[in-house]
Amino acid sequence: MKNHKRIWSLVLTIMLATGILAGCGSDSPTGSSTASSGEASSESGERVTITYSQWGNDTETAATKAVAEKFNASQDRITVEIMQIDHESYISKLNTMATANELPDTGIMSEAGVLTFATNGMLYDISQMYDSDESKPLDSITFKYDGTPVAYSAANEILAIWYNIDLLNEVCAQQGLNVTEFTPPADAGGAWDWDTFVNIAKTLTLDVNGKNANDPDFDKNNIVTYGCSINTLPWQLEVWPLSNGGGFYSADGSEMTVNSPETADALQRIADLYLVHNCSPQPSSTTIALSTSLGSEKIVMATDGAWNVGTYLGPDANFEYGVGVLPYMKEKVTICTGGPNVVFATTKHPEEAMEWLKWYAQEENSWDLIEAGTWMPILESWYTEDEKINKWIDNPYFPEHDMYKSAVVDYAREYSKSTSWYYVNATDVFNSVLDTAMSFAWTGDMTVQEALDKYIPEFEDAYNSGK
C-alpha cells in the first residue's frame, strides 16, 4: 500500500512539473492573437494573416470586423484578424505587448502614444504609403516625427457643442423664452462669444423653484437643470486656450506655454462656470462623457467629440439632439483628432500591412462607421464636394442636414487645428500633470494661474521627457 502511494505521488509530481514547464514555455499570451503568424508571404501565393488591434465598444468592433471581412473577401493574399482591446487599458496592453515584443502587425494607436512609439523606432516608416498623385489624408490629421509622416488618423473628429433639443424647449417654455435665441448656432459666423455663452447657460440653469442662475434668489444648492457642461479631459481643454490666443505649446511645439496668462485665463473661465456662475455641474470624471452629461437629461448643452453621433446620440439617446459650433473667447477654433492606424515595426509583413491600412483608409471601405456617424472622413474631398457630403450625412443617426453640415463639416474644414499630440511628444505625461494641477482649480482651492505655476517644474519635466 505504501509503495502504491509513493508511485502515485511521483506520477502526480511529474505531471504537475511537466504542466508548469509546458505552460511557462508558451510564447503566446492566453486568449489573444499576437504578432503575425506564419512565415508565408503573399508574393509566394500563400495567404498571410496579419492582425489589427483596435479599441471600441461592441458596436464599433462589430463594424470593424465587418470591414475586415470585406477586405478579406476582396482579395486572396491577405487575411486580417481583429484584436479587440478595451479602450481603458488599450495603451497599457500595447505597452506590455511592445515590451514582450508581441505587438500586432497593425492597429489603431492612441494619439498620445504615437510619437513615443515613433521616437523609439516602434513604428514602420509609412511615408511612401501614398504615391504623389494619390489623394492623401488631411494634413491636420497627419502625425509627424522630424517632419516625416509616421501615422495618419483613421478618422477625423472635432469638438462641438451638442444639446438636448427636448430639454431646451422645456426650459425655454418654462420661462417664456424664444427657443431660437437660446439654440447654439450651427454657423461659425454666428458663434457665441464667451460672455454671451455664459449668460445663455445661466438662463438655462434652473433651481428647484424654477429660478434661473441670473436670478438673485437662485438656490445654487438645489439645481435641477444645468445650462452647460464642458468636457474637462486634458486634451479637450486645449481648445479653450487656443481660442483665447494662448495654448499649451507654441504653434510648432518648440516651446511650452501652459502657464501663459492667456492660457490660465481661458481655463479659469471654464472653472468659473461652476465656481462663480453655477451654470455647470462640478467637473467630474464620472460625468465627462456625453452619455452621462446629456444622458442624465439634466444638462442642456455639453461639449464633446463628433464620434458621439454614432456611439451614443444616434443609437441610444432618448431625446432629439442638435449640434452647434463652440463658443469662442478671441478666436473661433475647434481642435481635430483621430486615433491613427499604424504599422508596427515588428511586423513580418509590412507591405501587406500598409496595403490593408491604405484600403481601410478609403472612406468606401470603412463606410459603416462613417455612415453611423462614429468616424468623420479623412480625405479633403469629403469636406468640399456636395455629393460626398450628402452621402455622408444624410443617414439615420445624424441630426438635421444643414445643421450638421454647417456645425461639423464646414466648421472642421475652416476652423479646426491639430491637437498638440500630432507634433509634440509625451503629451500623455504632460496631460496627467495638467489633470493634477487643474484638480486644485476645479475645487476653487487655487486659481488656475496659481495651480499651473505651482506645477511648472513638473510640466517642464514632462515636456522635456519627450525630446
Partner: protein, 310 residues
C-alpha cells in the same frame, strides 16, 4: 514471550529509511509548488529590485542608472509624499473600520437570531462581488450632482457632500467601501467566536461579570489571535489598495487618492517607465515590511499570549 526485533539498531535503521523516503516524497511534491512560486513570485521580485536601478521604457535597451530613480523619487517626484500619506491614512481608516464593523456584525451573527443563515449571506455577499462592479455602483452613489446619497441629503434638507470629489472626504469615502466589503473578516470572526470555550463564559457569569466584562475579559482574549490575523491581513491588503483609484478617482482629487500601488501601475504600464516604477515598488515593499514588523513587535506577543517576560 514477546517477539522483539532482532536488535534495536536494525529497528532504528528501518525507521530512518522510512523517514528518508517520506521526506523524499514530500520534497518531490513540493517541487512544482516551489517552481511555480519561483516563476510567479521570487524571480519577479528579484527582477524588480534589479530593474529599479535601470532606466527602461520597455521599448529600448535598459540603461543602468544606479540609485538615480530613488533619488528622483525622494527629491523631485510630484506624487511621492502625497502617495505615502494617503496610502497610510487610508490603510488605517480602512483597517480600523473593517475590524470594528466585522467584529460587531460577527457578535450579532453569533447569537441565536431569526434567519441567521440569511443574515450571514447578506453580510458576506459584498465580499464576493466583482470589484469593478462594486466601485462603478458606488461611484454613482457618491456622484455629486446625480448620486443617490446627495439626492437623499437634498430630500432631508441636508447640504450635498462632495464625497470622492473632495480631497478631504475622498479617503473616508473609499474606506467606507472597504468596510462594506469586509465580509471575509466577519466569517472569520464568527468562526472564532464559536470556538470560545463555554466554560470560561459560565465561570465569568458565576463570578458576577456583566455582558461587557465577559466580552472584554473573556471573549477578546480568547479571539485575540484571530484579531491579530485579521488586522495583519487587512493592513497588508489595504496598503496595497489600487482598485478605487483605477475605477473611481484616477488618483485625485488633488492627489487625494494617489495610492502607491496606483502610482506603480501608472508609471509602469501607462507611462512606460518600468525602472522608475520598480524603484517605487521597492520603496513600497519596505514600507509594507516596516508596518508589518511594527505590528508583530507591538501586538504580536500580546495577542499570542507571550506578553509576560520570563
Amino acid at each position: 514471550m514477546i517477539d522483539l526485533p532482532k536488535t534495536n539498531t536494525e529497528s532504528i535503521i528501518k525507521k530512518k529509511r522510512y523517514r528518508n523516503k517520506e521526506s523524499l516524497t514530500a520534497f518531490l511534491c513540493l517541487i512544482p509548488v516551489f517552481m511555480g512560486l519561483s516563476i510567479i513570485s521570487y524571480i519577479p521580485t528579484i527582477a524588480v529590485f534589479v530593474l529599479s536601478m535601470f532606466d527602461w521604457n520597455g521599448l529600448t535597451a535598459p540603461k543602468f542608472v544606479a540609485l538615480d530613480n530613488f533619488v528622483r523619487i525622494f527629491s523631485r517626484d510630484m506624487y511621492f509624499y502625497d502617495s505615502v500619506r494617503v496610502t497610510i491614512v487610508y490603510a488605517f481608516i480602512a483597517v480600523a473600520g473593517s475590524l470594528l464593523y466585522s467584529l460587531i456584525i460577527a457578535l450579532f451573527l453569533n447569537r441565536k437570531i431569526p434567519a441567521r443563515p440569511f443574515w450571514r449571506a447578506i453580510f458576506f455577499i459584498p465580499y464576493m462581488l466583482p470589484a469593478a462592479g462594486v466601485f462603478t455602483a458606488w461611484r454613482w452613489l457618491y456622484e455629486v450632482n446625480y448620486g443617490l446619497f446627495n439626492y437623499a441629503f437634498r430630500i432631508l434638507g441636508l447640504p450635498p457632500q462632495q464625497f470622492v470629489q473632495s480631497p478631504a472626504q475622498v479617503l473616508p469615502s473609499l474606506a467606507l467601501i472597504a468596510v462594506w466589503c469586509s465580509g471575509n473578516l466577519i466569517v472569520i470572526f464568527v468562526a472564532s467566536l464559536q470556538n470560545v470555550a463555554r466554560v470560561y463564559m459560565e465561570a465569568a457569569e458565576i463570578d458576577g461579570a456583566n455582558a461587557w466584562q465577559r466580552f472584554w475579559n473573556v471573549t477578546i482574549p480568547c479571539i485575540s489571535p484571530i484579531i491579530f490575523y485579521n488586522m495583519l491581513m487587512a493592513l497588508i491588503s489595504n496598503l496595497q489598495v489600487i482598485t478605487p483609484a483605477l475605477a473611481m478617482t484616477n488618483g485625485g482629487p488633488q492627489n487625494g487618492s494617489m495610492f502607491m500601488s496606483y502610482i506603480i501601475y501608472m508609471y509602469g504600464f501607462q507611462k512606460n517607465r518600468l525602472g522608475y516604477a520598480s524603484a517605487y515598488a521597492v520603496i513600497f515593499f519596505m514600507i509594507v515590511g516596516i508596518f508589518t514588523a511594527i505590528l508583530f513587535k507591538t501586538f504580536g506577543s500580546q495577542f499570542f499570549g507571550g506578553g509576560e517576560k520570563k
